[in-house]
């Protein structure tokens, strides 16, 4: 296709929007509503997933060592574990550090009581590694692996927390994908109906084009361009609305529910909209493209 033909089709697409203002407005409204819902849902889901991830990141496995283990062996185990693919962070706490920490927490006001244990650390066997995994799904397999390492006496981990968080993240993921797919399909259906009304009005025009020798792509292109432009406009409006609403809601929650927001953190506007904006534009253009293509197809059979 020549560049001049492409430019002509773009011009016709824009003219079509102007000529059919009412249909164009209805289509923009339809897409705006759909993308607003998709965006809103995505933002809620993303924040949930973010919370779950934060919770997952705070879950760790603690390993304790045999009483007769040497410092060298502890160090070897640390290096071995630190090199594992699934480990995101590993922290060593010696028995002395554990006791110092304990003293600070429970004997801060009565240091004399703790003095009695000066030469006999009551937490002598408590040197340990705290291991944080990149993905909690790997926990079971990793714990099994830990139990095979010589020198490790005990592995502490919370199976329930890990499983609950992992399952919750899974459910949230599935539900979000399902709802986004449903909304996308609804969007295509609605835009297809709206475009169909517009095309029905111009059925005769399409017939004339075909009878004087227009190719399918020449007839289709202005409609597709029209659909994509409407889709993009229909995406920009909810993006603006969502940015404004998200900012306001975060500020409101931060000021009105301080105790709640001290344990819950939200994804920043910049971070979440770096995904929402391209996603909304792609969905808008996609709905416009697919909707108009599907609708015009049957009218091309002249």
């Amino acid at each position: 296709m020549k560049v001049s033909t492409l430019a002509y089709s773009c011009g016709q697409g824009i003219k079509n929007i102007k000529r059919n203002k009412l249909f164009s407005l209805a289509s923009v409204g339809t897409i705006t509503a759909c993308i607003f819902l998709i965006g809103l849902f995505y933002i809620i889901i993303a924040n949930f997933q973010y919370l779950v991830k934060e919770a997952e990141d705070s879950v760790c496995i603690t390993v304790f060592f045999d009483d007769d283990i040497t410092e060298k062996r502890i160090q070897e185990i640390g290096e071995q574990l630190g090199n594992r693919e699934e480990v995101s962070e590993i922290k060593y706490t010696s028995a002395d550090e554990a006791w110092a920490d304990y003293k600070e927490r429970y004997f801060a006001e009565e240091p004399d009581l703790a003095e009695g244990f000066r030469d006999d650390n009551p937490l002598a066997g408590s040197s340990n590694y705290e291991i944080y995994l990149k993905d909690l799904k790997m926990q079971d397999a990793f714990v099994t692996y830990l139990k095979t390492i010589s020198g490790i006496r005990k592995v502490n981990y919370s199976e329930n927390t890990a499983n609950t968080l992992t399952d919750f993240a899974k459910v949230v993921g599935y539900v979000s994908i399902s709802i986004i797919v449903i909304l996308f399909a609804v969007g295509i259906f609605l835009i297809s109906n709206t475009v169909m009304i517009g095309i029905t009005v111009r059925k005769e025009e399409i017939r004339i084009m075909k009878l004087i020798g227009a190719t399918d792509i020449f007839v289709r292109l202005p409609f597709v361009i029209e659909g994509v432009i409407i889709g993009l406009i229909g995406a920009i409006l909810p993006i603006i609305a969502l940015v404004l609403i998200y900012q306001k809601v975060i500020v409101y929650l931060m000021t009105q529910f301080q105790s709640f927001t001290s344990i819950v953190t939200f994804i920043s506007v910049r971070q979440i909209f770096s995904v929402v904006i391209p996603m909304a534009l792609l969905i808008g253009a996609g709905i416009g493209l697919i909707g108009s293509k599907i609708t015009i197809r049957k009218h091309l059979k002249v």
Binding site: M1, K2, S4, T5, Y8, R19, E204, E205, R207, I208, M209, K210, L211, I212, G213, A214, T215, D216, F218, V302
Partner: protein
């Protein structure tokens, strides 16, 4: 140029629209196809444009067997045929210039060529002054001239006119027929479907008379002979 070999066309709902028609129209001929409503004239035009497929038989246009043309080659076939309808079928939201230029844009003619060719066509049909007018601002005769200019702008070898004077008064009808005659003199094959007895009788051209899907007569220099 146009050859039909034992062509029939039946619609799923009723009796055949065309029954076992065979005919040949040579390059540069001027032919009237006459007959009453339901005689199969319009079906014939649709078959030539490959808007419809024949139920049986073969159709050749410009040497191409229409039965074997692939779907994506149909636009190319139609570009060799100019077509004019009774109801003009102009694009109502475009002015005269754009209606004619549109046919050129369809075949991706360079813009500089469109700018030369469209005014020439407007001059040919006598509408040079009205290039900015919209269809609703024109009389029936003027709209048909625009349709004629659009049909001819891509220099087709065949011009099909389906009841081109059906919506026109006698004066405008004659002007359109004179234009068609001029176009024919330039070498374009012209096929006019009509039931305008006065014009057919006066033009003294080949007349194919159809009735209920069959050819009743085919006269070299004929008259509108069928009485309903």
């Amino acid at each position: 140029m146009i050859v039909l070999e034992d062509v029939s066309k039946s619609y799923s709902t009723g009796s055949p629209a065309i029954k076992n028609i065979s005919l040949k129209i040579e390059e540069g001929e001027f032919v009237f196809i006459v007959g009453n409503s339901g005689s199969g004239k319009s079906t014939l035009i649709k078959l030539l444009l490959k808007e419809l497929e024949p139920t049986s038989g073969k159709i050749f246009v410009n040497g191409k067997d229409l039965n074997t043309i692939k779907r994506k080659k149909i636009p190319e076939h139609r570009r060799g045929i100019g077509v004019v309808f009774q109801d003009f079928r102009l694009l109502k939201d475009r002015n005269v210039y754009d209606n004619i230029a549109f046919a050129q844009r369809v075949i991706e003619t360079p813009v500089k060529d469109i700018k030369k060719r469209v005014p020439a066509m407007l001059a040919l049909v006598g509408l040079a002054e009205k290039y900015r007018s919209f269809p609703k601002e024109l009389s029936g005769g003027e709209q048909q001239r625009v349709a004629l200019a659009r049909a001819l702008v891509n220099k087709p070898t065949i011009l099909l006119a389906d009841e081109p004077t059906g919506n026109l008064d006698p004066k405008n009808s004659w002007e359109i027929m004179k234009l068609l005659e001029e176009i024919n003199k330039g070498g374009t094959t012209v096929v006019v479907v009509t039931h305008n007895r006065e014009i057919v009788d006066a033009m003294n051209k080949r007349v194919i008379t159809m009735h209920k899907g069959v050819i009743l007569s085919d006269e070299k220099k004929g008259e509108y002979s069928y009485e309903s």
